[in-house]
């Protein structure tokens, strides 16, 4: 893996909670402009990896290089500022705020007005507010809920709440978008739309995508590279066909087949 093409590189990542090893020496990389997936049985440590990448967990050791700079032990908001955005497995919208206000949160780290300019309504502050609003409306349009800008987030149907999360993540102007189980709770048509949306985010916006997903059909269909994790370790890596035929992957999944949806 050469440095100039991989946007994200993880090396020998170790994470433990009071002696319990959740991630054990994991290495993988995500190429610039690709759609990559992390899969693995329940409890394999996928979401923990996301939390390490985004700064919510502090790994014990290892290296995380994003955009040629280390982001180990940075605060989550700093990592977002560097260009990594995420969505949450269980929706984490600002429930009592409007859809637009939710999306505007993403633009916070790309704007700068302080208290004084807010009180005085300086021309710069007004311009910035206008730009924030316009960009966020574009993000909402991109995910297809521009007609629900003024809704209170918690009043939206589930599928639309997911879209708000994506729009919010897009509003941070990321280079890499981490999607934590984006298809969870979506019906068949919504999943199809999701696949289209993920491709559009990559193709039209040039944003690299790394996703965690349980829906194997979706993962196989969309991913250009799949990394399989079990017990916090990488057990296989490659394209969809390689993974499907890999004996270790089959073993890892068959061993707990009854717990899986697929």
């Amino acid at each position: 893996m050469s440095t100039n093409t991989s946007l994200l590189q993880v090396k020998d990542l170790v994470l433990s909670f009071s002696g319990l090893h959740v991630i054990q020496g994991l290495s993988f990389s995500v190429a610039q402009g690709s759609i990559a997936s992390l899969i693995g049985p329940n409890g394999a440590g996928k979401t923990s990896i996301f939390n390490c990448l985004t700064g919510f967990y502090r790994p014990d050791s290892g290296k995380i290089v994003f955009n040629d700079r280390s982001i180990m032990r940075l605060k989550p908001h700093r990592i977002t500022r560097r260009g990594m955005a995420r969505t949450f497995q269980n929706l984490r919208l600002f429930k009592s705020m409007t859809v637009l206000e939710n999306v505007m949160s993403g633009m916070h780290c790309r704007s700068s007005a302080g208290a004084l300019s807010a009180i005085l309504h300086t021309p710069g502050q007004r311009k910035e507010e206008r730009e924030i609003r316009e960009f966020c409306e574009q993000c909402l349009e991109f995910v297809g809920i521009q007609d629900k800008t003024d809704w209170i987030a918690s009043n939206l149907p589930y599928g639309d709440q997911r879209r708000v999360e994506w729009a919010r993540a897009l509003a941070t102007k990321p280079r890499l978008l981490l999607l934590d189980e984006p298809a969870a709770g979506l019906n068949h048509t919504e999943k199809k739309e999701l696949i289209r949306l993920i491709r559009r985010i990559r193709d039209e916006l040039g944003i690299t995508i790394l996703l965690i997903e349980h829906d194997m059909g979706l993962v196989m269909q969309i991913s250009e590279k799949i990394t399989v994790i079990d017990y916090g370790q990488k057990i296989a890596e490659g394209q969809a066909e390689d993974i499907q035929n890999d004996p270790r992957v089959i073993e890892a999944y068959l061993g707990r087949e009854d717990e899986e949806e697929e």
Binding site: T54, F56, K75, P76, H77, T80, R81, A85, R86, F88, R92, L93, F94, K95, S96, M97, T98, E101, M104, S105, G106, H108, C109, R110, S111, A113, G114, A115, A118, I119, H121, Q125, E128, E129, I132, D147, K148, T149, D150, W151, I152, N155, R168, T172
Partner: protein
């Protein structure tokens, strides 16, 4: 409040929704204009006692709006807000009575001092979750008061006397009616600043952090930074209010800044409705007027006040003022 955003505004026919949107807006402006006229004309008909009480009410409006930024907007429980009020009052008191500095020049100094106090106390403690923060702020409030009581420069337990009353464009502010207008102007300024802050990038950041700290952090918002910002701005409101308090009273003593004072201000914020400017104003007025109205029943009035508080907390936990959104 008329505007209930239960259903999407966009789904109604445009004309109808515009009409519905305009009506309360116009109503609101009319109501505001009437209130402004009443507030301006009232002192002409009031006696000195009423003026005193009303000035006090406006003064508490400023303090409550300041604390509202901390408690209402940023969702931080602060039990030592009187400390910032004390910092402002003592800055003005010390500079005018001991160094002969012009009152108006003490305001920027007080702003800087209260900001510094906000950063000193907020910097290390705002990483804590709210219950711990409440205890630390409580301690801080007491520390400031005890310092004021024991330091020589603050006049010890006797406090400071002979603080000069300011001149404004040649007018010596020395009558109750003058201070009524001074505090009214301060309250209007505080409302204005609160409103602008609430509807800004910063105000939204506070709301994000209040609603979901982790999600806010994931969206690139510096959680601790946003809280500190709220804390410092709240401190400035308190500090400036303190300056004018010192000028009005001409004497200050440490006992003005006791724990009860902090609690009282907090009660005003909670009573009216956290995070809502009209609510906080009503809360501040209730705080000041209630004991005055029920003065005849003597110390029993605090008991009645407590019962009213309990009833409100039990049946209207969101405060007197209704929530804008369901």
């Amino acid at each position: 409040m008329a505007e209930q955003t239960q259903s999407p505004r966009g789904s109604k026919p445009i004309v109808q929704s515009v009409a519905r949107w305009l009506a309360p807006q116009r109503n609101r402006i009319i109501v505001l204009a009437v209130l402004a006229v009443v507030a301006m004309v009232l002192p002409l008909a009031a006696n000195n006692y009423m003026l005193e009480v009303l000035s006090n009410a406006w003064f508490y409006v400023v303090l409550c709006l300041g604390l509202n930024i901390v408690v209402g907007y940023a969702g931080l429980l602060d039990l030592g807000y009187a400390a910032f009020f004390a910092v402002g009052a003592y800055t003005t008191g010390i500079l005018t009575s001991q160094f002969g500095v012009n009152f108006w020049l003490t305001i920027p100094v007080a702003v800087v001092c209260s900001m510094a106090a906000g950063i000193i106390i907020g910097g290390p403690t705002l990483r804590l979750r709210s219950d711990y923060l409440a205890i630390v702020t409580l301690g801080f409030g007491e520390i400031v008061r005890i310092c004021a009581r024991n330091l020589e420069i603050t006049g010890g337990a006797g406090g400071l006397i002979g603080i000069e009353r300011p001149h404004l464009f040649g007018l010596h502010l020395n009558q109750a009616i003058h201070f009524y207008y001074v505090f009214l102007a301060l309250a209007v300024l505080a409302c204005f600043c609160s409103y602008r802050l609430q509807h800004s990038r910063l105000g939204r950041a506070w709301q994000y952090v209040r609603e979901d700290e982790d999600a806010a952090e994931a969206m690139g918002i510096n959680r601790v930074g946003a809280k500190l910002y709220a804390y410092v701005i709240g401190a400035v409101f308190g500090g400036v209010a303190g300056c004018f308090f010192a000028a009005k009273m001409t004497a200050i003593s440490p006992e003005t800044f006791m724990f009860q004072q902090s609690v009282l201000i907090l009660v005003g914020v909670v009573l009216g409705g956290m995070g809502k400017i009209p609510g906080v104003i009503i809360g501040a007025f209730a705080l000041v007027l209630f004991p005055e109205v029920f003065r005849e029943i003597g110390s029993m009035r605090m008991l009645v006040f407590a019962v009213v508080m309990l009833v409100i907390i039990l049946y209207r936990p969101e405060g007197i003022w209704p929530a804008k959104r369901s």
